[in-house]
Amino acid sequence: MSLFQVKDLAVHFGGIKAVDGVSFEVEKGSIFTIIGPNGAGKTTIFNLVSRINDPTAGSIHFEGRDITRVAANQVASLGIARTFQNIELFDNANVMQNILVGCHVHVGTSLLSEILRLPSFTQREIESRKNVEKIIDFLGLDAYRDSTVGSLPYGLRKMVELGRALAVSPKLLLLDEPSSGLNVEETDNIGSWIRDIRDVLGVTILMVEHDMRLVSAVSDRVLALNYGKLLAIGTAAQVQRDPAVISAYLGN
């Protein structure tokens, strides 16, 4: 029984079939990567999983539970966190606050206790800050704790977004093109972070990525997608050798 399953998932925007009957399973503790040319529907799958869009058909199961219709803001509390292709951080807040937002589902203080600063509130608040502090250490963001995110360089902001996702303390982490906009060196770092997250924090990872070096470096299984259809699934090596995939990338 795998941690996460997608069955015959399909979504149509007007006439376009963005995702067209895709099925796959992600084993607990594995790193599963979706690849494919631009517009293949990779991000769309993420948006379906994090419930930003509704699927036209098919089902999504997480820990054996059907989450195809849960509300978008419920996904996090189930233990699924995500990052975004072009960073979606809270630019006017500092790193600390951004990551604290990640703890949202775990803090659960009532408005009244916040206004009156009840001990219960203070204690909860401190817990979550401890938690955030751990993540900041883990990602080595100590130096930037108080700097406004909007003023940080791109690479760091990616890390902050990663940290925010981790603050949800997810069982499944969705990474949307973690390497996009990074240089070679940064990409390698990201690679090792991803592995650490799996190995140290034991988080299962589902990612969309196009940098094949990164993909083959970290992925246990790879799924190739084109025009919303599944082309091939298997190890990085297998998929890369698959003729269908090659022709898709060469585009004929």
């Binding site: 991000t43 948006n47 930003i52 869009n53 975004f84 292709q85 072009n86 979606e88």
Partner: protein, 290 residues
Amino acid sequence: MNEFLQQLVSGIAVGCVYALVALGFVLIYKATDIVNFAHGEVMMVGAFLGLTFIEILKLPYWIGLLLAIACMTVFGMLLNRFLLRPLAGQGILAVIVVTLGLSILLRAFASVIWGPETFALQTPFYNRVVRVGEVVLSQEHVAIIVLTIVLVAALYAFFRYSRIGIAMQATSENQLAAYYVGIPVQKVHSLIWALGAATAGVAGIMLAPIAFVQVNMGYVGLKAFPAAVLGGFGSIPGAIVGGVIIGVVESMAVLYLPEGINNVAAYILLLLVLMVRPQGLFGIQSKRRV
């Protein structure tokens, strides 16, 4: 029955004024993403220009009308150049605040230039009536409706057939693409503004004989917005229909509904639309992608 028909006609007439103002800022919104909260005041300026040419300079009505329209096109371009182009890329809040500020300024300047009093604007239709059987219609109302139909038809033809008109549509659909295929986006924008201001000007001059010309007549703009939303912002036929609907509903409300409803009818409509069908009667909804 006659009462109903007469009210229907005057409702439509007032609705046409709303419609023209709404049309103006829908044009502008589609092309430049700027919601001009000062469009009612732009209309007011148009009315005052009409007043200047027709009453003060004593020019014949039609010539005065044309001159006023000409000035309005220039006025629109100037607004675009000096106030709204700097706004490009600013957020909606900035746009709202700046255009609200603009509306305050226009009112202020108008009252300095033309004075705070109310003025009458003579028209060829002054106090004449058309009799259709039992029904007595004021020529001013009929004139407004006819003029609006003509104007809308002209605009339709312009967008449909003229090269620049098509360019404008393209720009409204997708600025970047338009830019790539070599449409001079900036120029198109200022033309759109010219057009928007001109239609508003016409609306103002047509409104003048029934409502008189005065600094606060721009509040009509507040009715034009519900009109635009009702028709699904960004849809031009929508704006027209929306305007007429609101005009009619208001004037019927005075006759057949308890006191006060007519004052808020437009806004109740707007809220209903936003709650039930935010994309309006004609619009299509778009979702932000991540």
